[in-house]
């Protein structure tokens, strides 16, 4: 079973959001999504300084078998992207909640997000 981390919030599009006490929030994709995609070989992230909008696409994640859009779970300015996953996208499969994080946003607004329990209940996955 794919792992769901209790401390994070999740979007219906399988992004996780790590609230960081008022600072920019970290964003990645859940292990459920990473496992479903298969081995990820390419990731396209928003640019630092660009504005992302909750619920809108801001990049894409491509695996050997499929490609899917990346949706921002929050609105705000991108403050940082994880260059390591751009050069080594396998980090997303290996450590989706850690080294495989994608980007950070100075969030002004959150889209609809679920708790870990709600996300695990609707999408499968193990808390």
């Amino acid at each position: 079973m794919s792992k769901v981390v209790a401390e994070l919030k999740y979007s219906a599009e399988h992004e996780w959001v790590a609230a960081d006490g008022g600072g920019p929030v970290g964003i990645g994709i859940s292990a459920v999504a990473a496992d479903a995609l298969g081995d990820i070989v390419y990731v396209d992230l928003p640019e630092v300084g660009s504005t992302v909008t909750a619920g809108e696409t801001c990049g894409e994640v491509e695996s050997t078998k499929s490609v899917s859009d990346l949706y921002s779970p929050v609105t705000g300015e991108v403050t940082e992207i994880n260059d390591a996953v751009v050069s080594d996208p396998a980090l997303i499969n290996n450590d989706p909640y850690g080294a495989g994080w994608l980007f950070k946003v100075a969030a002004t607004e959150e889209g609809p997000l679920m708790s870990a329990e709600e996300y695990a209940a609707t999408n499968g996955g193990e808390l």
Binding site: G38, D39, V41, Y42, D44, E60, E62, T64, K65, S66, V67, A90, N93
Partner: protein, 378 residues
Amino acid sequence: MTENYTALYEQHKKAGASFTDFGGWQMPLKYDSELAEHHAVRNAAGLFDLSHMGEVWVTGPEAAAFLDYALVGKLSAIAVGKAKYSLICDTDGGIIDDLITYRRPSPEEGVDRYLVVPNAGNAKVVAVALRERAAGFDVSVEDASAETSLIAVQGPNAEGILLELVPAEQHALVTELKYYAAVDVSINGQDLLLARTGYTGEDGFEIYVPNVDASVLWEALLEAGEGQGLIPAGLAARDSLRLEAGMPLYGNELSRHMNPYAAGLGPVVSLAKEGDFVGKEALAAIKAAGVGATLGQKLVGLKGAGRRAARGHYSVLKDGSLIGEVTSGQPSPTLGYPVALAYVDVEHSVVGTVVDVDLRGKAEPFEVVQLPFYKRTK
């Protein structure tokens, strides 16, 4: 459609496979990482359950003449012990399936015996078509698909792994077995049909085994291959391997609406063989019209300039105009760049031509390249 399960389903479940429907069968898509499985086949060995494939035995005094009539190739010319890639076409030249046909030793004087192996989703259709086409021939057509499992060991270490399970006095039968040939040998104490064939672009073997013996053989192969890098591999790896090897997949590159000449399989069609065969008239006309050469579309290999991959059904463009469609595509795990197969208008099919593929709204350049994308070094 009812789901079919192979005799190895429990083995796959135990190994943690994720499953996918393929041709009406629940087949392992991958066990863990499809990339690791792909690389294992290129560098060591992979074990595949291909039991969803069909097995149709054709036996009789007129078996050879019958197959020459039913298929587009000259199967009567195959030597005993050898195999041939062929197609079964409709009267209009459309491709019903691509298949491998093995000529087996005569069971008795004056009787020939062949094993025809169609794809999973087409096994029943092919068996029915063969029976229909058998009218008037002294031949029996026996569909053994439901009782027969097929296990493939593919990769540079395949031969070494098999030798572990074959008695020493039969080792030469394995080591001297040529590509596209088959032999009856004892594997793990069972007398089985072993073929040196595959769908990966590597050296490898396919073993036909009765369902009841399949699990024992699967486990024995895994154990024999343990020290040689053998891991079970699913359909995801099988698809990326065959794509790199430039091999067509029925349903993607081949269908009833496509013909052998556009698919680059013209040489498989023997218009010169004696007598009539199903589709001959249509195929002769398609060839004479220049389809795949000067008319219509042609199947080509495309290499992506960037990192984003083309996928099936994406549009191929030249100067903004639609000139074709991608049939299969993904990032090549071995080569490190996107590869794709696509039907494009013949005037844009020359190697070196740069075309665009519409990747979800953005045109990205791809170059027409020689197939296969990947060829193993011997």
